[in-house]
Amino acid sequence: MLRDQDLDAALRQCTPSTHAGRLYRVVQLQYLQTLTSTEGAWRADNRYTAVEVSQAMYLAQAPDLAMLEATRQFQRAFDTPTFPAYSILPVDVDLRRILDVTRDDHQDTLETSIEELSGDWRAARARQLKDPTRHVVTHDLGKAAKDAGFEGIKYSSAYDPARWNIVLFTENLTHERQVVFDLPDAVIQAQAALSMPKKKRGARTKK
């Protein structure tokens, strides 16, 4: 992967892609009230975004892929055979400026490969935290792409290379309703009820 000014110059040669359609996000059901939150991605490292680089939103091409990514992440973090309640959310997107690194020509331009982009970024980040001269190539690319104004990056899933995910840099979205969560009426009503003061909620339940 190129770095610094060479990477910036190479990104200018990559043709932005558009993407419109339905993608999927997975959220633990206990966070019913904040299904659109990007707080976790802001506060933690992910494949294409280091801490406090972006209020990024990671979306998957298909519902089962979204669940696979979430399951692996949960199992890596916690040593437990059980799995908590999650919800798979359909998200309609209308994206106008995506960096597509699933494309061979873009990988060539950036002097990278699917193997490098799908590699163990966590291990690279752990090394970098001990030695700041080390690089996390996907973090370098994510920051450079965000700074270059891309709305996000389309990349192959590390768990299922035939399919892809998109990370959105939500700060770079400029049009109305580019990302629309399509939620059932019952969920929206439940969110409204949960946002009521507990005393009032209790009174309503008793009726």
């Binding site: 959220v27 659109t36 506060r43 209020q55 059980t82 980040r125 935290l129 059932p184």
Partner: protein
Amino acid sequence: MGKKVTTKGSIAVRNATTGRFVGDAYALRHEAAPAVTATAKDTMVKGIAARMTGSKAAAERWYDKPNGLLGGRTPKRAVKDGDSDRVVGLLLNVAGQ
């Protein structure tokens, strides 16, 4: 330290039953994500982990296990070092928040 930018209007919620859009204030409610404060302490962080896993024991194991994304420190050590915000961030991230 990065700077948060609010994205007004680009992220929206639509009622799938009625087709109507819910207000932007709803979509941006994550600014006040639950159970997160910069001064999160030991008990609170473990409590979040326990709620996430559904297991107090699993939460304890996670809390005492060295974590590469915390520079090899355990979450417990990181909280003691004053990095509880970062530890909570790891949890919220796994939760898809």
